[in-house]
Amino acid sequence: MSHDHAEHDHAHHDHVHHGSELSPVEARVRALESLLTEKGYVDPAALDALVELYETKVGPHLGARVVARAWVDPVFRSRLLTDATPAIAELGIGGRGGEHMVVVENTPETHNLVVCTLCSCYPWPVLGLPPVWYKAPPYRARAVIDPRGVLAEFGVTLPETTRITVWDSTAETRYMVLPMRPAGTEGFSEEALAPLVTRDSMIGTGLATALPIEPAEMPV
């Protein structure tokens, strides 16, 4: 995911002292930020606050709280599936990129998979920003034509009898999957259930599992 983004050829200036380098893309972004700040369109402090918010606060651990609540509270679950945005807001979760969210429920009969075929629309308030593969042409195209093949690449094999429904997120409507509660978690508290909910299980490219998962999956 972090291939050749910054360092390309820097064969320009040959000089005696050692200056700094900005890659072409870094210099373009600095230029835009500086022009937009001068013209009063953006505030550098607000930009820094936004970056910090999405690097440290907003992420799939929030969606996991929603899922865990739905697993333990059938009335909440029903509200969530009927009208997701206000139900999610009950947990203090919402805002930009999640103005209209729809939650679709996995069952033994139906597995749901979410994609944005146009670009990279994604329910930011519950999942944070999308992973690189979500934005790439192969996933955007193949999720629709060959969802079972895509799931296999993610290590998910479903029974032949399980239907797969693919949901196309847009800027207006962004989908999240309510995964099935893993077997063997009867009696688990909401707090014990939340860490079982992975990001991919809420996109539909994974399943929630009672097996231990890597702690990195749940950013603090």
């Binding site: 910054a6 200036h13 200056g19 607000a46 936004l50």
Partner: protein, 107 residues
């Protein structure tokens, strides 16, 4: 492919592009629907394969909208980009790169 990443951004410039787009949307320069439509067009060039909707595509889409709206034209962006590159070359390694470090800078 499914490994979680500690930061959603692979490089600081990606985070800056993201923050610029969110700020400008909130300043009312465009709606999310307009943004998605423009991004979707930008990653489907007529003469090349479809591209990822990554932050490089965000940057190109943003530059297109800013030029079109008369907020920042291609010439002024190019000139400012060169100014930053001159500023970088004149900034000792490890120090912050400021526009004022450009030898041709005039306030």
């Amino acid at each position: 492919m499914t490994q979680p990443s500690p930061s959603p951004f692979a490089a600081p410039w990606e985070a800056q592009v993201f923050a610029l787009v969110v700020s400008l949307r909130e300043a009312g320069l465009f709606t999310w629907s307009e943004w998605a439509e423009r991004l979707g067009q930008g990653i489907r060039p007529a003469d090349a394969p479809e591209r990822a909707a990554d932050y490089g595509a965000w940057l190109a889409t943003l530059e297109g909208i800013l030029a079109e709206r008369g907020v920042a034209g291609a010439d002024s962006v190019a000139a400012r980009t060169e100014a930053f590159q001159r500023a970088a070359a004149a900034t000792p390694h490890g120090e912050p790169i400021r526009l004022e470090n450009d030898p041709l800078y005039r306030p």
